[in-house]
Amino acid sequence: MRGRFALRSVALGYLTLLLVLPVGFVFLKTFEHGVGAAWDSVTTPAARHAFWLTIELVAIAVPLCTLFGVVAAIAIVRRRWRGRALFNALLDIPFAVSPVVIGLALLLVYGRLGWFGDWLAQNGLRIVFAFPGMLLATIFVSLPFVARETIPVLREVGTEQEQAAATLGAGPFQTFWRVTLPAIRWGVAYGVVLTTARALGEFGAVSVVSGHIAGQTETLTLHVEDRVEAFDLTGAYAAALVLALIALLTLLSMNLLRRKEAV
C-alpha cells in the first residue's frame, strides 16, 4: 500500500515537473495579457497562414506516411524477399539522423546547387524554400512511426485469420480490408497519432528547407521561433498553445473512437 503510494507520487511528480508544469506555464503565459491579446496574436495574417500551412502539411503527410507504413509493415512481416532485413534497418534512418541533417540532405539533392537543381530550375519547379520541400521534410521525419507501431501488432495477430479468409474464398485485397486491417487497426491508429504529433511539431528539417518566409513558408513551429525572435512572447506562447491543442485533439479523438468501439 505504502510502496504503491510512493511509486505513484514519484510518477506523478515526474510527470508534473516534465510535462504539466511547462505546458501549464505556456498556458498561463498565453493569457498573461488577457484572452483578447492572445486571440489577436493567433489571428494575425502570418499566424493564420502558419496555422493553415501546418494543417495542409499534416493533412498530406500523414495519409502518405500511413499508407507507406502499412505497406512497409506487411512487406517486412508477411513477405520473404531479399533485402528485407536491410529495408527494415533503413526504415529507422529518420529516427537515427538529426532532422537538421535531413533538411541539409534535401537541400543537397533538390537545392539550386543540388543534384537535380539545374533540371528543376529548367522545368520551372521549385522544391526547396517552397511547399514541396517542406512536405518532403515533414514526410521524411515522420515516416517510420506507422510501420514501427504496426509491425509488432501484425506479428502478434499471426497469419491464421488470413489463411481462414483465403480458404473462405477471399482474395488478397478482400483479406486485407476485411481481416488484416481491422485486426491491426489500433496499431495503425497509434502510429497515426504519433505521425501527426511529429509532423505538427517538426522544426529542424522544415526549418532548413523552408527559407522562413512569413506568410509563405512559415509553419506554426517556425512561427513560434519567429515570434520569439521578434520579442512577441504572447504571440509565441499563443502559437505554441495552438500546436499543443491540435496534438491533444488528435490523441483525444483516437481515445474516443476506441472507447466507442469498446462499448
Binding site: E160, Q161, Q163, A164, A165, A166, T167, L168, G169, A170, G171, Q174, R178, V179, P182, A183
Partner: protein, 320 residues
Amino acid sequence: MTGIVVSDVSKSFGDFVAVDDISLTVPDGSLTALLGPSGSGKSTLLRMIAGLEEPGAGQIVIGGADVTRTPARKREIGFVFQHYAAFKHMTVRDNVAFGLEIRRADRAKIRSRVDELLRLVHLEAYAKRYPSQLSGGQRQRMALARALAVEPRVLLLDEPFGALDATVRRDLRAWLRRLHDEVSVTTILVTHDQEEAMEVAGQIVVMNGGRIEQVGSPRELYEAPANDFVAGFVGPVTELAGSKLRPHDVDIRIDPVDGAMEAQVRRVTHLGFEVRVELEAGDGRRLWAQLTREEAEQLELMDGQIVYVRASRRMPVALA
C-alpha cells in the same frame, strides 16, 4: 464426386522432409482421419490439400480436377484450425456469413443460410456475440459453421478439438460424427489421438515421419496392424512367448492348460471397469493383461500368485 486423390506428394522445409512421397485416396463422402504422432507431417499434408502450403512435388486432385497449382481461395474447401482462427472483430453471425459475403450472395439468402448454420451448431442464441465472449467449444462450432456455410466440396479439420478439455472434446466428437452423417461432405480430420480417430473416422491413415504406415478401417488397424508402429499407436501391445498381442487377449488361468506358460502376478491395479494385471512370465519377460472387473473377480488374483497365461488371440501379421 468430390473424392481426394493425393499422388506422390512431398514437401520439405529446408533440408527437413516433412511429407515424404505420399499417395492417398480419400473416398467421396467419407470421413477419413490422418492419425500420427506430433511432427509426423499430418498438418503439412492437410494444408497442401487445402492449398495453404505448396507441395514440392506430386499432384493433388479434388473431385476429379487437378488443383495442385490452384490457390486455396479457389479450391472450394472448408478448413478448421486448431486454434479456431476466428475473426475477432466480427460477431458470430458475421464470422459465419464471411464466405457468403465474399461470394456476394444476396442479403436474404445470406441471412437464411447463416440462421440455418447457427441452428446446426447450436449457436442461435450467440449470433450477436464476439468470439472473445464464447467458450472454446463454442468458438470451434462457430468455425465449423463458418467453414460449412459456403457448402465446401471437402471439409478439412486440423486437430479441431485439440485445444479443448476432455469432456467438451468427447461431446464435439460425437456431434461431428452425427454432423457428417447428416451433411456427408468428404471430410479429413487430423488428430494425434487414436481414440478420436477410431471413434469418428471410417478410414484411418496412420502417419509417421512424413510417410504413411497403413490405411484401413479402425478395426483393421486394431486387429491387423501392418507393423509395430501401427500396433502400438492404435492400442496397447504386450508380448508373450515372443509374439505380440493386445493385453485383453491375454488369457489367465489358475490351473495349467495346454500351451500356457507359467507366470507370476506382480501387481494388480483396479481402474474402474478395467483391471490391469502385471505379470512376469516363466521366461523372465514381463507382460501385462487387461481384464474386465468380472473376470478379475472370478480369478481373485493376488500379488505373487502363480498363474498360467496364453494368447487367446494373436495379431495376424508377424510383427518385426
